[in-house]
Symmetry: C2
Subunit: 358 residues, 2 copies
């Protein structure tokens, strides 16, 4: 397979949620077709994709047929089973590559990787038993958060410990899964850097956005973030360091806490990221197209921002506000085509756009 995907080439996407949907739209702008692989019927991305495979990730025949039908493979979520990856990688390039996935699938590996690069993380300890949890709490203190090392997202697989007495209940809730205890850091706010690295090793970063969460789920991302010029530079350099160390190809999200002592790395997501949705209405090349450009071997867009943006997620019943939002001036709506609005379910987002600096 040539490194640069030709016009009319097909991009395989593992996962057909809203990220896959917006990747498919961006791919269409560059003249590519997309083929979605998802275990669920009627995934949101299928509405805008050329082809859909509905099969579980352990269906080797379906994975093989999928790989056969596409030119390059990417994904919208990091928890892809290893066996599926093994099979796909043997047939087609999977971008971003294995190292990024392995690192981000495991919170312990991720923290070791980040600290190994010289980034600061919150204090943490591996926890495989109640005894280890008790020892970790004694060292790190409370409040602290116990998280499964794998398969957590949007606040799932997490328990907060407000005092050492919470240890037994917290450990019981984890059902013997390998965990990591993370200490709290005192931060003023959270930001994230959406950064990309091309096949040729070039790197492009978007301006950091400032994130506000509600109930463990991202609520808003605001551009520009409240940052000193030095912090802004630090954030971007950290992201570039991560990209290079992973020999990364594609878009990556790096979440950082802003503290008086500097920036503390929270986590990386080896994919387009909810906190990068603002780029759809703030930049000539958004994070979805940037990702497609990278994995297709195209030059990256430069990431410069033409407008200030506040991105707000529409979660669950937020979708009921749609009639009012549709009447707002300069509000760009992005819905995911999900039939049912369940609590906590991301139904869409709105980018409220303002001229730079206003």
């Amino acid at each position: 397979m040539p490194d640069v995907l030709g016009q009319g080439g097909t991009i395989g996407i593992l996962g057909g949620g809203q990220l896959g949907r917006m990747l498919a739209v961006a791919a269409s702008r560059l003249g590519f077709r997309t083929h979605i692989f998802d275990p669920a019927a009627n995934p949101p991305a299928a509405d805008v994709a050329h082809a859909l495979t509905t099969a579980p990730y352990d269906d080797a025949a379906a994975l093989r047929a999928f790989a056969d039908a596409v030119d390059v493979i990417t994904y919208e979520f990091e928890n892809i089973p290893t066996a599926a990856l093994d099979l796909l990688e043997a047939m087609r390039a999977v971008r971003p590559g294995r190292r990024a996935l392995a690192t981000s699938q495991d919170r312990l590996l991720e923290k070791a990787f980040l600290t190994g690069l010289g980034l600061t993380c919150a204090p943490y300890a591996a926890v495989g038993s109640l005894a280890e949890l008790t020892a970790a709490v004694a060292r790190i203190g409370t409040p602290a958060i116990l998280k499964t090392t794998r398969f957590g997202y949007d606040g799932k697989g997490q328990v907060r410990l407000n005092s050492p007495q919470d240890a037994a209940a917290a450990w019981a809730a984890m059902q013997d899964a390998p965990c990591v205890l993370e200490g709290f850091v005192t931060f003023t706010h959270e930001i994230s850097v959406i950064a990309a690295r091309g096949l040729d090793g070039s790197v492009a970063c978007y301006d950091p956005g400032q994130n506000v969460h509600e109930g463990g789920i991202l609520h808003t991302t605001t551009l520009p973030a409240r940052l000193t010029p030095a912090q802004r530079t630090d954030a971007v350099l950290m992201a570039a360091k991560v990209l290079n160390a992973l020999d990364y190809v594609g878009v990556l999200g790096l979440e950082l806490f802003v503290t008086e002592a500097g920036l503390i790395a929270n986590e990386i997501a080896p994919r387009v990221h909810n906190s990068g949705h603002w780029t759809q209405n703030g930049c000539a090349v958004d994070q979805f197209e940037q990702h497609i450009r990278a994995i297709a071997g195209w030059p990256l867009g430069d990431g410069s921002r033409h407008s200030d943006v506040v991105m707000e997620n529409l979660i669950g019943d937020d979708i009921m506000h749609l009639p009012a939002i549709a009447k707002e001036r300069n509000a760009a709506i992005h819905l995911y085509g999900k039939a049912e609005a369940r609590p906590g379910r991301k139904m869409g987002h709105v980018n409220r756009v303002r001229p730079l600096g206003h």
Copy 2:
């Protein structure tokens, strides 16, 4: 059928070219599915649509099944056969409606409609024979252009008469099709207004863009257009007058010549228009979403422009410049996924974006 299309509703689009493709993408942003009807296999819009019907426009069974499968019907081109429209209209709302189609399908009707509204058109005459052409040339003078009254686009079905001696050859080239002879007007430049009217009768216009054609095909549209404030107001009022007179629902393009004596109406297109592609990167709500909003019964976007834009069509071999364009700063690329670059074929466009007033 309710007037306001609910989340997850399906929009049927007649025609699967690039306009249908970009309408489908815009529909996905609002949570709608699209179903494309096109006689050709593998139309560009099918890559991003939920469903595709491949059938000729005289296949009544296919048209009926298509109408059954969708909630509302629109189109990307105005030359839809009357019998197909009759059948579809009986089953579903077709927006924009019949009056807009009938008017724009026939250059004579269109000119009578526009002059009836008080707009100025170039001098014209109906031509059904060589004798009528000779008489028309005597009245209107040369240079003049003889056009078939129906089914012309992108410079096709047109012959230029440089002198009265050209009449016989021009008439012969038309093969007895009903024609209209149009006189030339001395204009400094051409503009177009992309305007929309909602189901509730509200109207929203984008700023006029300035068009440059090459070989009868649109080459660039530049925002802002060179216009006095009075001309800008006139242009927008003309578009609104047309929309109201047609009881229009959707986006319409109105081409105008700018002359020292004022604006002269050239033609209307009852659909999204090539000269409105700049809105994709200049406005929070682009022409494609505006059209979907209108036909779905949503509130219109306000049409305000956050950036200046120069839209350039990539025609035929222009696509060879893609590697260089991809490296440009602030160039937003939109490709149509067409496999083969034939001369005169619209392969994509690029929107070059600048901050307002720079």
